[in-house]
């Protein structure tokens, strides 16, 4: 029992993340993702259209809000995707900072604009609902304000990546911003519990205390899965396009270098 615990032989090297490194190779990712893309796109379209049409035309009106409650079939999925997108952005940023994966940098770059778009949809649809229900398009409520901060974090991330001549510096700075900004996610989720907000509390709970009737829950869940798949499809397609653009650029540069010799 006299072994030196600091010697390299005694430190067990785990295989943590080895599969991740394997699939984080841009070329391998491209080969895997391209055949899957048409299927992803088809499922996204079918589920999103089903959820939206069901919610708009066939779901029952709310006993209190009437047809105004139909907003939730677009507003709630957009809100969930905007937060999940930022969580994915933070995870990519973590991998980028720790393991310097080029795919993580590219993924973060492509998630930003898509996530910002879904956050804008969430804000605009909520604002359009707020006018008839609250009498104002905007109030400085904790939930609304924290989602607005999320939108600005997305914009800041998009801008910061492109703010440096050296792209690697941009990736590094944007990754730090994304990780620091992740503190906003629990604030958004718990804002309706921590403060007295005009925004209603959580209606759906995965612990079984959902306050929504089943005929409204089904279209909402289908629209939500559709929106998530839309997000995944869009980011995957943009990521594939970005990898191919880089490869094209690299090939052109290599040929230009070859002809100069």
């Amino acid at each position: 029992m006299n072994e030196n615990v600091l010697s390299p032989e005694t430190i067990k090297v785990g295989r943590t993340g080895s599969w991740l490194h394997h699939y984080a190779n841009p070329g391998r990712f491209l080969r895997l993702a391209r055949p899957v893309l048409p299927w992803l796109a088809a499922f996204s379209i079918v589920l999103t259209v089903t959820g939206i049409v069901w919610g708009y035309f066939f779901a029952p009106a709310d006993w209190e809000q009437g047809d105004a409650a139909r907003i939730m079939y677009v507003h709630v999925p957009a809100a969930w995707v905007s937060m999940a997108g930022y969580a994915a952005l933070a995870v990519c940023s973590f991998f980028s900072l720790i393991w310097r994966h080029p795919l993580a940098d590219l993924a973060a770059e492509e998630i930003g604009p898509v996530g910002a778009g879904f956050t804008a949809v969430c804000l605009v649809s909520g604002s359009l609902w707020g006018k008839p229900m609250w009498g104002a398009y905007w109030v400085w409520d904790a939930r609304l304000t924290s989602v607005l901060v999320l939108f600005f974090l997305y914009l800041g991330h998009i801008a910061l990546i492109r703010a440096f001549d050296n792209k690697q510096h941009g990736y590094r700075a944007a990754a730090i911003l994304a990780l620091v900004g992740a503190v906003n996610l629990p604030i958004i989720v718990f804002s309706v519990q921590w403060w007295n907000t005009l925004h209603q509390g959580n209606t759906i709970s995965f612990s079984g205390n959902s306050k929504i009737y089943i005929t409204m829950l089904y279209p909402l869940l289908i629209a939500s899965v559709g929106f998530y798949l839309c997000f995944i499809t869009l980011v995957t397609a943009r990521l594939c396009a970005a990898i191919m653009e880089r490869r094209t650029h690299g090939l052109l540069l290599a040929r230009a270098g070859g002809t100069e010799k």
């Binding site: 999103t48 939206i52 708009y56 009437g66 047809d67 105004a68 139909r70 907003i71 677009v74 507003h75 957009a78 898509v114 778009g117 804008a120 949809v121 605009v124 649809s125 359009l128 609902w129 006018k131 008839p132 839309c230 869009l234 397609a237 943009r238 594939c240 396009a241 970005a242 191919m244 653009e245 490869r247 094209t248 090939l251 052109l252």
Partner: protein, 42 residues
């Protein structure tokens, strides 16, 4: 109050966004595929 314009507006914004970003992404993807193929076969 008539809610219809507000709800229709919300759905309209969402559908326009989804179609718009899908169209832009598809166009970018197709262009990237074509350009890469052209450079690889040149």
């Amino acid at each position: 109050m008539n809610f219809a314009p507000f709800i229709d507006g919300s759905y309209g914004v969402t559908v326009v966004f989804l179609i718009g970003i899908a169209g832009l992404t598809f166009a970018r993807y197709r262009t990237a595929v074509k350009r890469l193929k052209a450079v690889e076969t040149r």
